[in-house]
């Protein structure tokens, strides 16, 4: 191993890959085959966390950062003057295996700049995965990037070796895409998505009849959208996310606050703040849609095209819909329990179990772990004291904000700070 060359390449190509936020290693239960190396953990494992608090689960690198495209938002775009490098296939395989054996990682996340053309690039990515699976008997997690406009045959082959496939839509609106990535068409992105979706359905059907049908991307597919690059509303983002969830059976849609990487008059300038709070609110909304039974038009619609910054989306919905409250914790159905602000799905399950035995009061709820600072205004339980009395939405919001703190508070607080 030529240590210095590898070190240099790794630094360049890991640095370029870090803007891909997905690092999930969950959803696949690939078993260890013939006493080989590795298996996939169904719930995924984060082996470390970077100083920005993000999970490090996979060796996330680009095969190369040479690229023929010139997308304005991308750090490896053709016109950007950065150091370029490319890994050999064997080098990626060696790195993956050696990191894996030391329990540093769950597997490999391989992406690439596009060189020559889409199919040529996709072939090289597949070659790495194939080598790992067939020659090294590696059964850990592999996440391959689908290159926009890659052919159906290649997408089929990719799914045979990868656990997850993803193609990043990046810009949530078609008009934004035209502005920032004039070389790419919307259909280039959706073509591999559609193929993967169809293959997943085919696998599911065939697997029912023939158990030995080879696995196809068992952890499904995901995509990512950049937030805050083109002036889109939260409604635009979440409606397109919902579209991808429904239309392409996405496992996940990721939201990535735009990190300015270039001076370009179409984009926020370098040094402007990454919209981390907004990103957080979008993830909260995503969770409400996937796990709490909310519909997207309840949370975002023409009257409310953007999420509240100062309160979380569930609380914000509750404040707009006070007629549903207060909810009786001892009688309400699961759906309504899940809609109480400050109540998580774990608490909901515990409450459903516990209330078979006795009526629950504030003390029980507190011990179970409900965030009462928010929840107490929206529920009644086995107690004569309950908070809401005749408070209106504005008052409740005021009281909740007064009694809580948030690390982003200084970014949106209207209160003037005394010493500046």
């Amino acid at each position: 191993m030529d240590f210095n060359r590898i070190q240099e390449k790794l630094n360049v190509l890991a640095d370029a890959a870090k803007y891909d936020v997905s690092c999930a290693s969950s959803g696949s239960d690939r078993a260890n085959k013939d006493k080989g190396l590795g298996n996939a953990s169904k719930m995924g494992i984060c082996h470390s966390y970077t100083e920005d608090g993000r999970c490090v689960s996979l060796l996330k690198i680009l095969l190369t950062n040479h690229c023929i495209f010139d997308c304005a938002y991308c750090v490896t775009r053709k016109s950007n003057d950065v150091k370029r490098a490319a890994f050999k296939i064997q080098e990626v395989v060696d790195l993956t295996i050696n990191f894996y054996r030391r329990n540093y990682i769950e597997g490999l996340f391989l992406s690439s700049g596009i060189f020559k053309n889409a199919d040529y690039t996709m072939e090289r990515l597949i070659a790495v995965a194939k080598k790992l699976r067939l020659e090294e008997n590696f059964n850990g997690y592999i996440h391959l990037k689908s290159i926009p406009d890659a052919s159906d045959e290649l997408m089929y082959e990719a799914g045979l070796y990868a656990d997850r496939l993803s193609v990043n839509i990046e810009i949530p609106t078609i008009s934004g895409l035209k502005l920032l990535a004039p070389d790419k068409k919307h259909e280039d992105f959706t073509k591999p998505m559609l193929k993967v979706k169809n293959e997943l359905i085919r696998f599911k059907n065939e697997h029912k009849v023939i158990k030995s049908t080879p696995k196809y991307a068992p952890a499904g597919q995901s995509t990512q959208m950049i937030v805050g690059a083109t002036g889109e509303t939260d409604k635009d983002i979440m409606y397109s996310a919902t579209y991808y969830y429904k239309q392409y059976n996405m496992k996940r849609v990721y939201y990535s606050g735009y990190v300015p990487v270039a001076e370009d008059n179409r984009l926020p300038s370098i040094g402007s703040q990454v919209p981390m709070l907004r990103e957080n609110r979008l993830y909260q909304t995503d969770w409400l849609l996937r796990f709490y039974g909310f519909a997207v038009n309840e949370l975002l619609n023409n009257d409310h095209p953007n999420l509240d910054i100062d309160v979380d989306p569930k609380l914000s919905w509750a404040l707009r819909n006070m007629h549903h409250f207060p909810v009786d914790v001892n009688h309400a159905d699961k759906r309504m329990l899940a809609r109480i602000p400050g109540m998580g799905m774990r608490s909901v399950e515990k409450i459903l179990n516990a209330r078979r035995f006795r009526k629950l009061n504030w003390d029980h709820l507190k011990k179970i772990g409900v965030a009462l600072n928010r929840a107490k205004y929206f529920m009644i339980c086995d107690s004569r004291n309950w908070e809401r009395k005749d408070l209106d939405a504005e008052k409740i919001k005021g009281m909740i904000l007064q009694q809580s703190t948030g690390k982003f508070r200084n970014q949106y607080s209207t209160q003037l700070s005394l010493f500046n």
Binding site: K18, Y19, S48, T50, D52, G53, I368
Partner: protein, 258 residues
Amino acid sequence: MNPSKTLIYDGSFNGFLTTVFVAFEERIEVMDIQRNTQGQNGLFSETETVFTNVEKAKRVWNGIRNTSHNAITNVYFAFLSETDGIELMLYTYIQKLMATKGPKQMDYSDGIVLRISQLARSVGREKHRMEAFVRFQLTKDDIYFANIEPDFDVLPLISKHFRSRYADQQWLIYDVKRKYGIYYNLEHVELISLNLKEVHFNKIHKSDAFLNEEYDYQTLWNDYFKSTNIKSRINRKLHTQHVPKRYWKYLSEKKETA
């Protein structure tokens, strides 16, 4: 009425289950259950030493498992938390479990049930952390070696994970705090104790037990860890929340800061 007794067992999980069996069978009014190393006799209670019997332990295990899968996990995990007084809490928990008829629901409004499930959860979290934070270093004998110092006794819980994952390499995970380890010899996992002269932190100073290549890979991993960080998003609080400082000394990517 039977006089209340303090039961003494050998500290093993099977020993504890045997104690539960004996207490049920002889209808003992249990005052406390203690490990034989504790030796805190109550002033006014009798003590009885229980000898571990795998058959009896198995019957209790199966009895709990047959009522609820969730409960047997809770009992085992909470036991490994080594919390003071855990034995008596678990005994009460098992009594409650056996007393309820019909489908087993968990009464989370009951203090003990909630506490046991929370303890089991902490141990589960520690197990998951160890599956993540073990850092193997390749020794000159071709064994992947790691030392750990978990809050709870999780080695028995993580053995299966590592056995099925690293089936083609010899590995050894050693618990520095409890002074025993698990070693996989390509066939099966065995418990071992070592006379470990020095604890192999991922320190900057190198040990000649390891290959040079090992330190190259640690350097690459550290570099990777650094370059995957996005500086404009820095959030140290979240970072330490996910990777608590007590684990840092064993993580090669944190070796400069620990």
